[in-house]
Amino acid sequence: MKRLHLEGLDALFGALRGAGYTLIGPRLRDRAIVLDELESAAELPIGWTDREQDGGHYRVAARGDDARFGYVTGPQGWKRWLFPPQEVLLRARRLGQGMRIEAATVEAPRRAFIGVRACDLAAIAVQDRVFVHDPGYQARRAACFIVAVNCTEAGGTCFCVSQGSGPRAGAGFDLALTELCGDGQHRFLVEAGSQVGATLLDTLDAVEATAADHEALEAGLARARGQMGRRIEHEGLAAALREHLDHPYWQKVGERCLGCANCTLVCPTCFCAEVEDRMSLDGSEAERVRHWDSCFNLEHSYVVGGTVRTSTAARYRQWLTHKLAHWETQFGVSGCTGCGRCITACPVGIDITAEAAALRQA
């Protein structure tokens, strides 16, 4: 483990830009921590936090210090950069009675993701499995450099500990930072997680971390763990969900759920997509576009003649059972990484941890 001083962050940004990466990271916009293109470390949400989160509730506030990564999880995950909300898959041109169909060119710019939390690293690993054969996803994924940031504080809706995904970044990063600024010495601990990361780290003015640094890191992680007020108990949960498909409890959740699809849009692992074909006005050219869909949309389960899941209860059941039971069967991992975004983004405050607990005991 190495240690970088505060200015080392600028050097890291510079080195990544020098290596041809576009930087994507957090900034404060519209009273939220959002992910956006960054030019320099000065654009980070310095001194801001968004740890005040609860069911249907999100507030940013000044921290009273100048922490660069003092926020927790903003409303967006990283999936939009790997699995864009809209993507052209192919283009077709009419040739007489025939057609020529070509795969759309995949744009896969070199991007560095700055500030990926452990829960979101896990989410990227989940989508790596889902999209294992998808050419666009894989090309974009291969072109990205990941700078993770360990969490030394938890947000109000975080529960990564119970999902085994955080608060420490375990794998899947090129570099992992830990920001330490509470003791008057603003510094970053840096760990390389890949050869590319190690090579880049060698170019920075980093020194060996001290025993005190290690202790501060452990203390920070322990603080984050201790702050998490929610958890999902997994013992018997998947089996209970599979067995209780007809339980009246779904109706109770269905009565609260607005079917707005916010949870699926903010979820960093949700991957449902609609595929839409479009034609030019003269009928000579066509394209196929994939865009994000949600199992909360009525059309999602459309079959000839009608919709299978007409009730909100059935659609919520689809989402929750997929996330917490069927995902494991399909991809060998849970569909939930404990980021808590679905709780924060739910207008009526439906809490996945509470619903899971209720159904587990149902």
């Binding site: 025939g98 054969h133 998808d134 498909l245 030019s280 994939r290 069927h326």
Partner: protein, 281 residues
Amino acid sequence: MSTAAADPGLWLPRPYRVSRCKRELSDTFTLELLPADGEAMPAFRPGQFNMLYAFGLGEVPISISGDPDAIGPLVHTIRAVGPVTEAMRALQPADEIGVRGPFGSHWPVADAEGMDLVIVAGGVGLAPLRPAIYHALRHRRRYGRVCVFYGARTPDDILFKTELKRWRGEFDMLVEVTVDRATRDWAGKVGVVTRLVEGGGYDPLHTVALMCGPEVMMRYTSRALEARGVARERMYLSLERNMKCAVGLCGHCQFGPHFVCKDGPVFRLDAIESLLAVDEL
């Protein structure tokens, strides 16, 4: 990060040229297709489907209705029920459509060797079963008794009528057809397809049953088969769900833990029967 598993052709339909269009019923037609580039076609197994692309309008999953062992065009029998399939009905020879596939699981025709084969179809559900029937006819001696039980709405809705007659006449095969309603010019059976199943003609203890039709029809058919003594683990059925990708990426066809596009469309009954009982799954 390795991209070795990425498939650049995952989303890419291949243009096929219509070589023949045949009207089957008032709303159902068969297309015979050959690759526009003249190259070889991929092999398929009975029960598998392709994604068929109508230029600029969209893709639909359609099961293959031709003979898996024949050298010849790719055959699809399609019911016109929406804009894409309506557009396909208007196709003429030499027109092109895009084809992706084949996808999905298949009828267990190899596992059923040595057994009686009971094939129960309802409505256009006969089309996905026709490749299995062709297979059974081609390898007739590998099976015990072969029964085709087919239910249609009216005599005018009987798919592959000429072939049903030929199968009944030429081969050692029990072919029974029934319709839900008829007038006196119909000399055949009136009643539901489960009655045909109840009528026997096979050895329940040594039978593999393949079913395709509306889910309700398959539900009652499986009960009738079970009442005769056919074990649920020897019954197979084909499901239909919304599909946009056919490769487990779009999420639409989920049925409990299953992706109908890649774990199905053909399922063994005992693997999904508890899910079939759940409303709005």
